[in-house]
């Protein structure tokens, strides 16, 4: 058995003419928090379904927990906790019952599951909702329940597909806090997201995906260091003037990106760049100096923003 919990070589998945995942390589080690970052349609969920041993690959090698999912689906799934993109809780049952039946699907003894439920409800901050029907829960609560459900069998790998998509900012932060606790406890996490702040907060290492391929790989900090500058200066001259000004500004910084509403100028010192712009007699309507993020990495790699 290799030292990796998950290992993929030339992993490929096709749907008819569309190659959803195009020969990618990656490894995930024990205790690591591994992220797949990319826009919708990049192939992240397809990779997750293959790791989840529910969808079979068309080419390449894939090993999960030392086994090939092609002929060891149940053996692999026994040790995974899966949180799908869309909550698929049983709407007709209560919060507790959802946890209970899911534990039973793993063949766990009734007594063990009953004891586990209290622990999971505390973790998911759902103690007061234990007898509520799932239908009555808010989006954030449903999401936390789905995560709690995935933990009922104490899985070796917890897989989260877009864990906070569709949640309001407060619900997202509660969820991040819960996931961060799991990470601290050494649970191996595999997370897909198209939110760069989520990837930065939760992932030790990530791959940036676009159109079924891996564009870059590394820790959030190293990706930013390799593919972007320390700081970014965002300036707005009005949508009709941005392009005209961009030509004049190009020589002042390392790189410039023109977005429909603003210009992004890449530099190691945003404040002094802004001074230079004023000195050149140009007066942006608004300006903002910020640190580089994974969004900038993605823009650099693909020429597009993550959320379009």
């Amino acid at each position: 058995m290799s030292q990796f919990l998950i290992s993929a070589r030339g992993l490929t998945k096709k749907f008819g003419d569309l190659t959803a995942v195009d020969g990618i390589d990656f490894n995930v080690s024990k205790g690591e928090s591994f992220g797949l970052l990319g826009p919708n349609g990049a192939g992240k969920s397809t990779v997750m379904r293959m790791i989840g041993a529910t969808s079979q690959r068309d080419a390449g090698d894939l090993t999960i927990l030392g086994k090939d999912p092609e002929n060891n689906g149940p053996q692999i799934r026994a040790h995974l906790g899966v949180v799908p993109q869309q909550d698929n809780l049983d709407m007709e049952l209560s919060v507790t019952e959802n946890l209970y039946i899911y534990g039973r699907y793993f063949g766990l003894p009734r007594k063990f599951v009953r004891g586990k439920i209290d622990e999971l409800l505390t973790f998911a901050q759902l103690e007061e909702k234990r007898d509520s029907k799932v239908e009555a829960l808010s989006g954030g609560m449903k999401r936390r329940l789905t995560i709690a459900r995935a933990l009922v069998s104490e899985p070796e790998i917890l897989m989260l597909d877009e864990p906070t998509t569709g949640l309001d900012p407060q619900a997202r932060h509660i969820l991040w806090d819960r996931l961060f606790r799991l990470k601290e406890q050494g649970v191996t996490l595999v997370i897909t997201t198209h939110f760069m702040d989520e990837a930065e907060q939760l992932c030790d290492r990530l791959i940036v995906m676009d159109k079924g391929r891996i564009m870059a790989e590394g820790s959030p900090a190293s990706l930013i260091k390799d593919y972007s500058t320390k700081e970014v200066l965002e300036v707005r001259f009005g949508s009709d003037r941005n392009q005209e000004v961009a030509d004049k500004l190009k020589s002042m910084c390392d790189r410039i990106e023109e977005l429909p509403d603003r210009l992004l100028m890449y530099t190691d010192d945003g404040e002094s760049l802004l001074e230079k712009i004023y000195d050149a007699g140009l007066h942006p309507k608004t300006s903002l100096v910020r640190r580089s993020s994974l969004e900038d990495v993605f823009l650099r790699l693909t020429g597009r923003t993550l959320i379009e």
């Binding site: 149940p74 026994a78 104490e154």
Partner: protein
């Protein structure tokens, strides 16, 4: 606060071999739990249905028939005796339908719960069998309730009337297996429900020799009976309960057709479940 996931105990906790043997039972267990949420409605239907039929068709229409053609006018027995096996089989089919079609569409489409079950060690085939097993139980108690009401109404005049219970259950599960297969294939259920209600269930009920012997239908309509599990079960039930005359090969044909629907339904349902979940 800590969660014992850091123990990462699934290697110790989960016995895959056990799940592979009992998986379908876990799914059935969950289905029964959901069924319990509707138990009063299910019992209500199981009682109200036969009561209404027995009063209107059995006593009302039956009294009229027995009076005009004389007792023993329909197939040599009282009309209620003739009708009983058919009504019982019809109730079984209705129960089987409710417990296969809706959970299957819900599992694949409405709530997508089958995908969550499939992310555990359970396979598509085990989910399919589990849903079927729960429907089997529903069929059994629906038929028993119905039978009890008929008994209370004095509608069971043949001493062997109880033999219609197994034939009705047979009809229910055969039809259920077919409907589960069909539901697993469905992409658009709205049209399906319109077709099912108007062009399958209604004709099935009317043209399966339920209210009159199939032989009194014009010859060119009798094939409807042959494709209907309801008719096969009704014929078997009539044979067993009051000695309705059928030749031995025809009796075997009834049995084999129902058994084929059951086994074929279960086989294809398991296959379609597996494929659809892997898509």
């Amino acid at each position: 606060m800590s969660i014992s996931t850091n123990r990462q105990g699934s290697t110790l906790l989960v016995d895959v071999a056990k799940v592979q043997v009992r998986g379908a039972l876990y799914v059935a267990e969950a289905r029964l739990r959901i069924m319990m949420k509707w138990i009063w409605m299910i019992i209500g239907i199981a009682i109200a249905n036969p009561v209404l039929y027995l009063i209107s068709v059995g006593i009302g229409l039956g009294g009229l028939i027995d009076k005009s053609v004389g007792v023993g006018g329909v197939d040599g027995v009282k009309y209620l005796t003739f009708l009983a096996p058919a009504l019982l089989a019809q109730a079984a089919i209705q129960g089987a339908m409710d417990e296969t079609i809706y959970p299957t569409i819900q599992g694949f489409k409405w709530h997508k719960t089958f995908y969550s079950i499939n992310s555990t060690p359970l396979s598509g085939a085990q989910i399919s069998i589990g849903v079927f097993l729960a429907a089997f139980l529903r069929v059994i108690y629906t038929v028993l309730f119905y039978f009890g009401v008929m008994w209370a109404f004095g509608a069971l005049q043949s001493p062997k009337a109880w033999l219609a219970v197994p034939t009705a259950i047979f009809a229910g599960i055969s039809f259920g297996a077919l409907m589960q297969t069909l539901a697993a294939k469905l992409e658009n259920e709205n049209i399906f429900f319109v077709i099912l209600g108007r062009f399958i269930m209604m004709p099935l009920f009317l043209f399966s020799g339920t209210f009159f012997p199939l032989s009194s239908m014009p010859f060119f309509l009798q094939w409807l009976g042959w494709i209907s599990p309801l008719w096969h079960a009704t014929e078997l039930g009539r044979y067993l309960t009051y000695g309705h005359v059928i030749s031995s090969p025809v009796m075997w044909a009834h049995f084999v057709i129902l058994a084929t629907m059951l086994v074929g339904g279960l086989y294809f349902s398991a296959r379609i479940f597996t494929r659809r979940l892997a898509k």
